[in-house]
C-alpha cells in the first residue's frame, strides 16, 4: 500500500503509448483515458452470440420497449393529464359541445389536430401490445428450453418482474385517456380494491382522493405510468441485459458445442448489423400496422360517465385472464358481524398474482427437485424434459381457458353459444383442462423421445423400399451422420433421488422429513420409470449397427 502511494507521488502514471495513427484513434484514446473503454470493449466487441430464431424474441421485447419510450415521450408533449372539465370543441364533430375531461380532450386533439399524433398514439399502443406479447413468448421460450437453470434464475426473476410491471403499465396507460372504456376499467379496479378486507375502502379513498371517480386518478396514474413504473422497468431491463452479457447466451446442443463454450458469430459486425437492423424491422412493421389498423379509437367510445357503458367492454389481451377469473367466479359473499367479505371478487384478485407467481418460482422448485448445482448453458429440447414441458403447457392452457372466460360474451355472440354454458365450461375447465393437457403433453414428449431413440439406433427412413431375397419388403434405413447422433444423444438424464435408508449404519431408525419425502416423490414423477425414455447408449448402437447390418 504505502510503497504504491509513494511511487504515485513521485511520478503519476503517464501514457507511454505510441502516437495514435489517426484522428479516430486519438479520440478513442482520449475517451479511454477517462472511461477505460478499451478494457470494456476488449471483452465485448467481439463477443460471441449463438444464432437461432427463438433468440430474437427477447430482442423484440427490447425494441418495442424503446419504441414505447420514444413515442411515449412524444405523447407527453401534447397530453394533459387532468380531469378538469372542458367543453370539447374540435374537429371531431360528433362530440362538439360535450363536457369532457382535459385528458380526453387532449387525446382527441392528439388524434385529430396534431399531424401524425394519431400515428404516434397508435404506434405507442400497438408497441405495448406487442411488447407484452413478446415478453410472454420470450418467457415461454426460456421456460421450455430450460434456459432459466443455474446461473440464470435471477435473470428469470428480473424478466418475470418486467412482464408483471408491463401488465400494469399497460393497464395504466389504457386508463389515461378517460374515455368510456378506460373508465370502465378503472371502475373494475375500484370494485376489486373495495373487495380487499379491512383496508380496501381506505385504499380506494386514498387512491382516488375520495369517492370514485374523483379528479385525482388520471394525474396520479399518469405519474405512475410515465415515471415510476418505466423507471423501475428501465433499471430491471439494464440489469437483465448486463446479466445476458455476463452469463453469455445459452446455445442448442450440436457438434462442437459444450457447456464450456459458446459458438456463434461476433457482436461486431454481424450482430450489430443483425440486431440493429432488427430494431428497424420491428419499428417499421409496427409503424405500418399503425397506419392500417386502428387500435383503441377513444373518440368512438365517448367520455367517461359512471352511469354509462359500452357493450363490449374488454381489456387489452394481457389482462384478459384476470378478466376471465373475475367473470367466472361465483358471487360468494360472506356477511357477518356487520362486515362483508366479498370473496367473489377477492379470490380472483388473489389468484391473479398467484397464477403468475406459479411460473415465476418454477426454476427454484425444479432446482430443488433435481438438486443440480451445476451451471447449464446447453438448452434442453422440450421433449427431453417431459414433465417440465407438460407443466408449462398446462399453465398455458389454464391461461387460455381463463382468457376465453374473459371473452365469454364475444365467444357467445360469435359462435352462437350460450353464455352460461361457456361460464360453466370455464369454471370446470380451469381445473380439468390443465390436467388433461399435462398428460397429453407428457405422452407426446415421451413419444418424441422414443422416435429420437429409434432414429439413433436404426437410422432414418430413406423412403427407398427394398425387396429381400425371400420376398419381404423393407424400407432402407440410413445411419445418421456422427453430428446428428451426437446432437440427439447429448442431453442429460437425471435419475430419481432415493430416500435415505430407513435405518442408519448403527441400526437406528432415521427420521425422514416430509420435505425429503416430497422431494423424492416429485423426483420420481419427473425422472422415474416411464417418465422419461432412457436414451440409447453407445453399446446399444454398436450392437445394432454390427448385428443387424442388413437393415
Amino acid at each position: 500500500m504505502s510503497s504504491a502511494s509513494t511511487s504515485a507521488k513521485q511520478a503519476a502514471p503517464a501514457s507511454t503509448r505510441d502516437k495514435p495513427a489517426n484522428k479516430a484513434e486519438a479520440a478513442a484514446d482520449w475517451v479511454d483515458g477517462r472511461l477505460g473503454i478499451y478494457s470494456l470493449a476488449k471483452a465485448n466487441l467481439r463477443k460471441i452470440f449463438p444464432d437461432h430464431w427463438s433468440f430474437m424474441l427477447g430482442e423484440i421485447c427490447l425494441y418495442t420497449f424503446i419504441i414505447i419510450i420514444l413515442t411515449g415521450v412524444y405523447l407527453t408533449l401534447f397530453f394533459k393529464p387532468s380531469m378538469g372539465e372542458v367543453i370539447y370543441n374540435g374537429s371531431y364533430a360528433p362530440l362538439n359541445g360535450i363536457r369532457v375531461s382535459e385528458a380526453y380532450a387532449s387525446t382527441l386533439d392528439i388524434s385529430f389536430e396534431v399531424r401524425g399524433g394519431l400515428l404516434i398514439r397508435q404506434i405507442h399502443h400497438w408497441a405495448a401490445i406487442v411488447f407484452v406479447a413478446a415478453m410472454f413468448v420470450h418467457m415461454m421460450r426460456v421456460f421450455f428450453t430450460g434456459a432459466f437453470r443455474k446461473p440464470r434464475e435471477i435473470n428469470w426473476l428480473f424478466g418475470f418482474l418486467l412482464l408483471f410491471l408491463g401488465f400494469f403499465d399497460g393497464f395504466l396507460g389504457y386508463s389515461l385517456p378517460d374515455d368510456l372504456l378506460s373508465g370502465t376499467g378503472i371502475r373494475f379496479m375500484e370494485g376489486a380494491i373495495l373487495a380487499v378486507p379491512l383496508v380496501g375502502t381506505y385504499i380506494s379513498f386514498f387512491l382516488f382522493g375520495g369517492e370514485f371517480p374523483g379528479t385525482d386518478i388520471v394525474p396520479r396514474f399518469f405519474t405512475i405510468h410515465v415515471l415510476l413504473i418505466p423507471g423501475i422497468m428501465l433499471g430491471l431491463l439494464v440489469a437483465h441485459l448486463i446479466l445476458v452479457f455476463y452469463h453469455k447466451h445459452t446455445q442448442w446442443a450440436g457438434p462442437g458445442k459444450t457447456e464450456k463454450n459458446v459458438v456463434g458469430m461476433p457482436l461486431m459486425p454481424v450482430y450489430m448489423a443483425k440486431a440493429g437492423g432488427f430494431f428497424f424491422l420491428v419499428f417499421g412493421i409496427i409503424a405500418a400496422m399503425s397506419a392500417i389498423a386502428s387500435v383503441n379509437p377513444v373518440w368512438a367510445y365517448g367520455p367517461y360517465r359512471p352511469d354509462q357503458v359500452s357493450t363490449d367492454a374488454q381489456p387489452d389481451w394481457y389482462m384478459g385472464f384476470a378478466e376471465g377469473l373475475i367473470r367466472v367466479m361465483p358471487g360468494w359473499e360472506i356477511r357477518a358481524w356487520g362486515h362483508t367479505l366479498n370473496l367473489g371478487v377477492f379470490i380472483p384478485l388473489m389468484l391473479f398474482p398467484l397464477v403468475l407467481a406459479a411460473i415465476a418460482v418454477y426454476p427454484f422448485i425444479e432446482g430443488w427437485i433435481t438438486g443440480d448445482k451445476r451451471e447449464h448453458h446447453i438448452l434442453d429440447r422440450p421433449r427431453n424434459a417431459p414433465v417440465r414441458t407438460a407443466l408449462g403447457a398446462a399453465w398455458i392452457s389454464l391461461y387460455l381457458v381463463l382468457l376465453s372466460g374473459g371473452g365469454n360474451d364475444l365467444i357467445a355472440t360469435h359462435f352462437h353459444l350460450s353464455l352460461n354454458d361457456i361460464t360453466y365450461f370455464v369454471r370446470i375447465g380451469s381445473f380439468v383442462v390443465p390436467v388433461v393437457v399435462f398428460f397429453i403433453t407428457k405422452r407426446w414428449c415421451l413419444g418424441l423421445q422414443r422416435r429420437d431413440k429409434e432414429k439413433v439406433l436404426h437410422g432414418r427412413e430413406t423412403g427407398v423400399i427394398k425387396r429381400l431375397p425371400h420376398g419381404e419388403f423393407v424400407e432402407v434405413h440410413a445411419q445418421l451422420p456422427q453430428d446428428k447422433l451426437h446432437t440427439l444423444t447429448s442431453h442429460e438424464q437425471y435419475e430419481p433421488v432415493e430416500l435415505p435408508a430407513e435405518v442408519d449404519e448403527n441400526g437406528v431408525a432415521r427420521k425422514v422429513g416430509v420435505l425429503t419425502k416430497t422431494r423424492a416423490k416429485l423426483s420420481e414423477g419427473y425422472f422415474g420409470d416411464g417418465n422419461q425414455i432412457p436414451k440409447p447408449t453407445a453399446e446399444e448402437h454398436k450392437e445394432i449397427t454390427s448385428g443387424h447390418g442388413h437393415h
Binding site: 463477443k47 363536457r99 396534431v114 399531424r115 394519431l118 400515428l119 446461473p151 370502465t184 371502475r187 373494475f188 370494485g191 373495495l194 380496501g200 375502502t201 381506505y202 379513498f205 370514485f212 453469455k248 457438434p255 462442437g256 459444450t258 457447456e259 464450456k260 463454450n261 459458446v262 459458438v263 458469430m265 459486425p269 454481424v270 448489423a273 437492423g277 428497424f280 424491422l281 409503424a287 405500418a288 399503425s290 397506419a291 392500417i292 352511469d307 378478466e323 373475475i326 367473470r327 358471487g331 359473499e333 356477511r335 362486515h339 362483508t340 366479498n342 367473489g344 371478487v345 438438486g371 443440480d372 361460464t423 453430428d483 447422433l485 438424464q493 433421488v497 422431494r519 448402437h541 449397427t545
Partner: protein, 360 residues
C-alpha cells in the same frame, strides 16, 4: 441428500477427436467446417448483394422524403377509401406507411448485409465459471470480516440496536405523508343523494335524457328508463352535469325504472317499494360497479355488460347468474301531490360493489 445421482456431464465423459469418435459413435465430432456462401466465392454475387443492400437504403431515404411531403401536403381531416381497409385517415395512412417503409428498409438492408457479405464463420468462445475460485472467496470473506470487526458493529450492541431502531422508524414518516392522499371513507359509501329525501321533502325522479320529472304513466311496460335526483335542498336545480361532483354523485345515484304488472312481481317487499308496478333499482351493478344497460322485457332480467351478472327485476333483483354477490338495491318510490314520481328516502342498502364495512 447427495448429488451422486446427477448425470455425468457429457463433454467430461467423452473426449473430442478421432480416437474418441472411432470408439464412441455419439462422441462430439467438433465444429463442422465452414461452408462458404455464394457471395463468399462469387464476386459477381457479392456485388449484386451490395447493390441490393444499397437499394434498400435508398428506398428508405425516398420514404423519408415521402413522409415529409405527406406531413406538409395532406390535410389532417382528409378521409380516403383504401381497399380493403375502408375509409381511413389519409394522413395517418401516408405517414405510417412512409415511416414504416423508411424504417423497415434500413433494417432489411442491415440484415441483408450481415447475412450475405459479413463473415458467417462460427467461432467458439470459452465460458468461465461464474463462481469465484476458493482463494478469492476466502479473501473476500476475510476482507468483510476485517471491515466488520473494524466497525465494531457486533461488539457495540447499543449502537447496533439504536441504529436498527432508527432505521425501522424512519420509513414511518413516508407512510404518514400518504395520509392526505384522500379523505377517510367514513359512511360515504353508504349514502347517496337520495338519502336527503324525506316524506316531507321528497325528491323527484328526473329523466336522465330529458331532464324532466316523470309520472308513473310515462313508464311503459317493457321499457328501461334511466333517472337521476331532481331538485333538493342541497341541489336546488337537481343533479346537473355542470355540478362539480356530478361524476361522484351519478356513480351512486343513477336509477333504472321499469314497469311490471304488479301480479308478475314475485317479491312482495319489492312490490311495496314500487308504485303501481313501477320499480326503481340502482343502475350500478353490485359486482364491481359497471352500469347495467340491458333489459330483457319478457323475463324482466337485467344484464350487466361487464361480466354478465343477471338480475331478476321481478324478484327483488335477485342475482340469477354471474359473479355479482347480492341484489341491486331498490329505492322506495311513490308520487307527490302533482302526481310525479318521488323518493322519500335513500336506498336501504349501499349501492355498488360490496366493501368490508358494508353491513347488509
Amino acid at each position: 441428500m447427495s448429488d451422486d445421482k446427477l448425470p455425468v456431464a457429457h463433454d467430461a465423459a467423452e473426449g473430442h477427436g478421432e480416437a474418441a469418435v472411432a470408439e464412441n459413435p455419439f462422441a462430439d465430432p467438433g465444429l463442422p467446417p465452414h461452408e462458404p456462401r455464394r457471395t463468399d466465392i462469387d464476386e459477381r454475387a457479392a456485388k449484386r448483394a451490395e447493390r441490393q443492400v444499397s437499394l434498400l437504403f435508398l428506398v428508405s431515404m425516398l420514404a423519408t422524403v415521402g413522409f415529409i411531403a405527406s406531413y406538409v401536403s395532406i390535410d389532417s381531416d382528409k378521409i380516403v377509401y383504401i381497399f380493403p381497409l375502408g375509409h381511413i385517415s389519409a394522413l395517418n395512412f401516408a405517414l405510417g406507411m412512409t415511416l414504416g417503409v423508411a424504417l423497415f428498409c434500413i433494417g432489411a438492408g442491415a440484415v441483408h448485409w450481415a447475412r450475405t457479405l459479413m463473415s458467417d464463420v462460427e467461432l467458439p468462445a470459452e465460458r468461465h465459471a461464474i463462481e469465484a475460485d476458493d482463494e478469492t472467496r476466502a479473501d473476500v470473506i476475510q476482507q468483510f470480516k476485517t471491515g466488520a470487526a473494524e466497525s465494531g458493529f457486533g461488539r457495540r450492541k447499543m449502537i447496533r440496536n439504536t441504529m436498527i431502531g432508527s432505521m425501522a422508524l424512519v420509513p414511518l414518516s413516508g407512510v404518514m405523508l400518504l395520509r392526505d392522499l384522500g379523505p377517510l371513507p367514513e359512511k360515504k359509501l353508504d349514502r347517496t343523494d337520495w338519502n336527503e329525501a324525506t316524506s316531507d321533502a321528497p325528491i323527484r325522479l328526473v329523466n336522465m335524457n330529458t331532464n324532466e320529472p316523470m309520472k308513473p304513466e310515462d313508464i311503459v311496460v317493457g321499457s328501461l328508463t334511466f333517472a337521476k335526483p331532481g331538485p333538493s335542498a342541497s341541489r336546488p336545480a337537481g343533479l346537473q352535469e355542470s355540478d362539480e361532483d356530478f361524476q361522484e354523485a351519478i356513480a351512486k345515484d343513477a336509477l333504472m325504472l321499469i314497469r311490471i304488472q304488479p301480479n308478475d312481481i314475485k317479491d312482495a317487499d319489492s312490490r311495496d317499494l314500487g308504485f303501481e308496478g313501477v320499480l326503481a333499482y340502482s343502475k350500478i351493478c353490485t359486482h364491481v360497479g359497471c352500469p347495467i344497460s340491458l333489459y330483457e322485457q319478457q323475463t324482466h332480467h337485467a344484464l350487466c355488460p361487464c361480466h354478465q351478472s343477471t338480475f331478476d327485476l321481478s324478484d327483488g333483483a335477485r342475482v340469477i347468474f354471474g359473479p355479482a354477490g347480492h341484489p341491486l338495491p331498490q329505492l322506495k318510490i311513490t308520487t307527490d301531490a302533482s302526481g310525479y314520481l318521488v323518493a322519500t328516502g335513500g336506498f336501504k342498502h349501499p349501492v355498488g360493489p360490496s366493501f368490508w364495512e358494508r353491513s347488509e
